[in-house]
């Protein structure tokens, strides 16, 4: 059973794993961009969603920049505050082993996202394009979609492709809703969430860190919305015997070979050694609507975001290995990325899509670069890392640069510059707003 196998090259397996995590992130972002471009052509930019995230201040286009900034700051602080409270509640629940309750709650929230948010987006599309579908068919299709989604993500094991697909869809729907927030609030909120992420995962009092340590000490899995990439399998048959992958969390805060040896010797009979700490962050995504409808549909939606960790599977014997060497050595790790990261990456890209497609490209590159950097850091530090900060900061920088310099770049592509469009519309009423 114990085989010491090496991958063809470290670069191969690492590259494959990176691709397997970058692809769904890219797909999610692409879908959000498509949704934003398709659905926002008619509606005005000033329509904003009243929600938890705008609880402190509702932006209007007549305020000055400074007012908007301060208002956005208050909004973000309120939002981060709610997230902190929710995360601590989650920690408490996990501490008292109410995992059943957690799973039910998560299943419920996934159902709400898929059913209500998905239904709303579908309704937008239908009404915009006057698609002649009748309500019976619509309800049946929507019900199917949501119920199977909940089953796939939470309740039972299902085809990996289906589960991953549903996770991407959930991320896309929530990200689309976030893009409906007022502009300044979005920016400041993203930065605030990145900072919070950094603090909650790395500081010792951070709720995520506590959660991680609890999970490690109990050798349990935190129920959460997490995208797990398909593990890269080796050419040999060492994976064929892998059945239940019992994850053994390895505490790597004190990285010394002794502790690793100890834990690995205990894990030799199981198929996997997990090298990770779980970081988890509750992101409460708002589902609020217009003031009149708040009473019906604003069930605050709490999703869990698991920060970066890497799960390793090792069937080979754990010889005294330097930890970094072990990651590449004969291990088929599966990278996990929390759904909240998908969401926040896509939000900014979606926002950028409202203005300029060049900014979209720039932001996309920034995110992928940030993801790559985070991966490298993960390999270096071998801890749960917050996946947001690097990408968000890079993305913000690129977005600002992209918007500042867009007028200087001319690739012969017509980009839907909204303000320009409004002026030109006056002269050319039949012009399409979009890339031809």
């Amino acid at each position: 059973m114990a085989q010491n196998s090496r991958p063809t090259s470290l670069l191969d397996s690492l590259g494959e794993e990176i691709i397997r995590i970058v692809t769904p992130v890219s797909i999610c972002m692409f879908l959000v961009v498509v949704l934003v471009s398709v659905l926002n052509e008619d509606s005005s930019n000033s329509a904003s969603v009243s929600s938890i995230a705008t609880i402190a201040y509702n932006e209007s286009s007549s305020d000055s920049d400074w007012d908007k900034f301060i208002g956005a700051l208050w909004n973000s602080l309120a939002f981060v505050g709610i997230v902190i409270v929710a995360t601590f509640i989650l920690v408490l629940l996990f501490y008292f082993r109410c995992t059943k309750l957690l799973k039910i709650y998560l299943g419920f929230s996934a159902f709400v996202v898929l059913g209500f948010l998905g239904g709303e987006v579908a309704l937008f599309l239908i009404t915009d394009y006057s698609f002649p579908i009748d309500c019976i068919t619509f309800v049946v299709i929507l019900l199917n979609f949501s119920v199977v989604g909940v089953i796939a993500v939470f309740m039972s094991k299902m085809a990996i492709f289906v589960t991953q697909g549903y996770l991407v869809v959930i991320g896309m729907l929530v990200a689309y809703w976030f893009t409906l927030l007022p502009e300044w609030t979005t920016w400041v909120l993203l930065v605030a969430m990145a900072l919070y992420d950094l603090a909650a995962v790395l500081l010792p009092i951070g709720p995520l860190r506590i959660l991680v340590e609890l999970a490690i000490s109990r050798d349990e899995e935190i129920p959460a919305l997490v995208y797990e990439a398909r593990p890269v399998t080796q050419n040999n048959s060492s994976n064929a015997t892998g059945v239940a992958r019992r994850r053994v969390w390895r505490e790597t805060s004190a990285v010394n070979s002794d502790s690793i040896e100890d834990q690995n010797s205990g894990a030799l009979d199981s198929d996997s050694v997990g090298n990770n700490q779980n970081g988890e962050n509750l992101v409460s995504a708002e589902e609020g609507r217009h003031q009149e409808r708040i009473s019906e549909l604003t069930a605050p939606l709490i999703e869990q975001r698991l920060n970066y960790h890497r799960q390793m599977q090792e069937e080979d014997s754990s010889g005294g290995g330097f930890p970094i060497e072990r990651i590449g050595l004969g291990s088929s790790g599966a990278i996990k990325l929390g759904l909240g990261d998908f969401i926040f990456y896509s939000v900014l890209v979606g926002r950028a899509a409202m203005y300029d497609f060049m900014a979209v490209y720039a932001c996309y590159l920034a995110i992928v670069a940030g993801l790559g950097v985070t991966l490298i850091l993960l390999v270096l530090y071998q801890k749960a890392l917050p996946a947001l900060p690097v990408s968000i900061f890079l993305e913000n920088a690129f977005y600002v640069l992209g918007r500042k310099f867009r007028s200087n770049l001319d690739f012969g592509i017509k980009t839907p510059n909204r303000k320009l469009l409004q002026e030109v519309e006056f002269f050319k009423p039949d012009m399409d707003g979009g890339i031809p």
């Binding site: 309704l123 239908i126 579908i133 089953i151 990996i160 217009h290």
Partner: protein, 131 residues
Amino acid sequence: MERLQNQNSNASTSSSITGPVWPTIDGALGLTEEEEALTYARRFYKFGFCLLPWLWAVNCFYFWPVLLHSSSFPRIRPYVVGSAIGFVIFTTVLSAWALTFAIGGESLFGSAWDDLVMYNVAEKLGLVGWT
């Protein structure tokens, strides 16, 4: 190891002749025990009767090797085939209805069409009225 013997009981050579080794489309990552796979297939099949043809479709997708190789996994196969048939029937019925509705339009249904079509229902219920 015993499942390999179960599945290879018909022949002694490689799995390409006897059929697939894994009942699920995920191969080694999916369900590997035949008992467990049977439970899942049965559960998906039964739940699909709650107006969930998509669940049947996912069931077929998940157990695609069972569907493809007609002589393998004799215990799982009835459920998967049942799911496939159920999905096809339901989809035919539903799409027949939807197409009739869409193509027939007002000429076929009269005023009922306006009552049933989704965008009117949505407006009536105020679901999209806020943008």
